[in-house]
Symmetry: C2
Subunit: 141 residues, 2 copies
């Protein structure tokens, strides 16, 4: 994912956009970041980017298909790099841990349901909430 990519989607190659891409790409396990998260990460790296720009760029990246925006419980949107493969999420309500999964059966059923109700499905979101193994251990203690 280099700067050529930005041009391809009609965005100028600017420093803020490059920095934000770097943050998102290097996020590793913490792939699910809010705008605020990205902003803080930028500051920690010594990159001085305005919060408004972070919001603007994340929205543009979403529209360009580079990112996916999720609405987890708790108000703010979180973003993650879109690596081509769609997936859903299961979240721990205690520690915030997020795991990803794909279930072909569920995908199928969803399409069937949309058909049955006469909808053309454009999108869907499935979040499973629960308590992960680690947090259950802690609770007992």
């Amino acid at each position: 994912m280099d700067s050529q990519f930005l041009k391809k989607v009609g965005l100028k190659v600017t420093l803020p956009r490059i920095k934000i891409l770097e943050i998102l790409e290097s996020a590793g396990t913490a792939r699910h970041m809010s705008a605020e998260d990205v902003y803080k990460a930028l500051l920690e790296h010594g990159d001085d980017v305005g919060l408004a720009t972070v919001y603007r760029v994340l929205t543009q990246f979403e529209q360009a298909g580079i990112l996916t925006r999720h609405h987890f419980e708790g108000g703010q949107s979180v973003f993650e790099m879109d690596e081509g493969k769609h997936h859903d999420h299961i979240l721990c309500t205690k520690c915030g841990r997020v795991d990803e999964f794909v279930d072909p059966t569920i995908e199928e059923r969803q399409k069937a349901i949309a058909d049955k109700f006469g909808y053309t499905m454009t999108d869907h979101s499935l979040y499973i909430y629960g308590v992960c193994k680690e947090c259950r251990k802690k609770e007992k203690a």
Copy 2:
């Protein structure tokens, strides 16, 4: 759903709470209301209830299990009376129409996924987004 119900869940029987219950019960097709929606409906009925109270009461009702809160796309929370039977939603992104469904296969798969990842499932939310039949017709025209 009478006032005795409120007492049972530890809430005093007050005018605002009764009025809000009435609005929710009589909502009919428009069962999915935001706090603002409820507030406006109250004003239209000539009931003078503060917006803060609406938010407070809706939250209390949610905790009491009378209501379910949903996080549809678009920022604000929407509430609906909980009639015992769990269901998921399919929404039209053009006109805002909402339909409800239950799919036992999906429910099952979700539990299986939670197990597989070591989670104790507490909740889940599934929203299918699409364009309904009516809106497709309008678009062609």
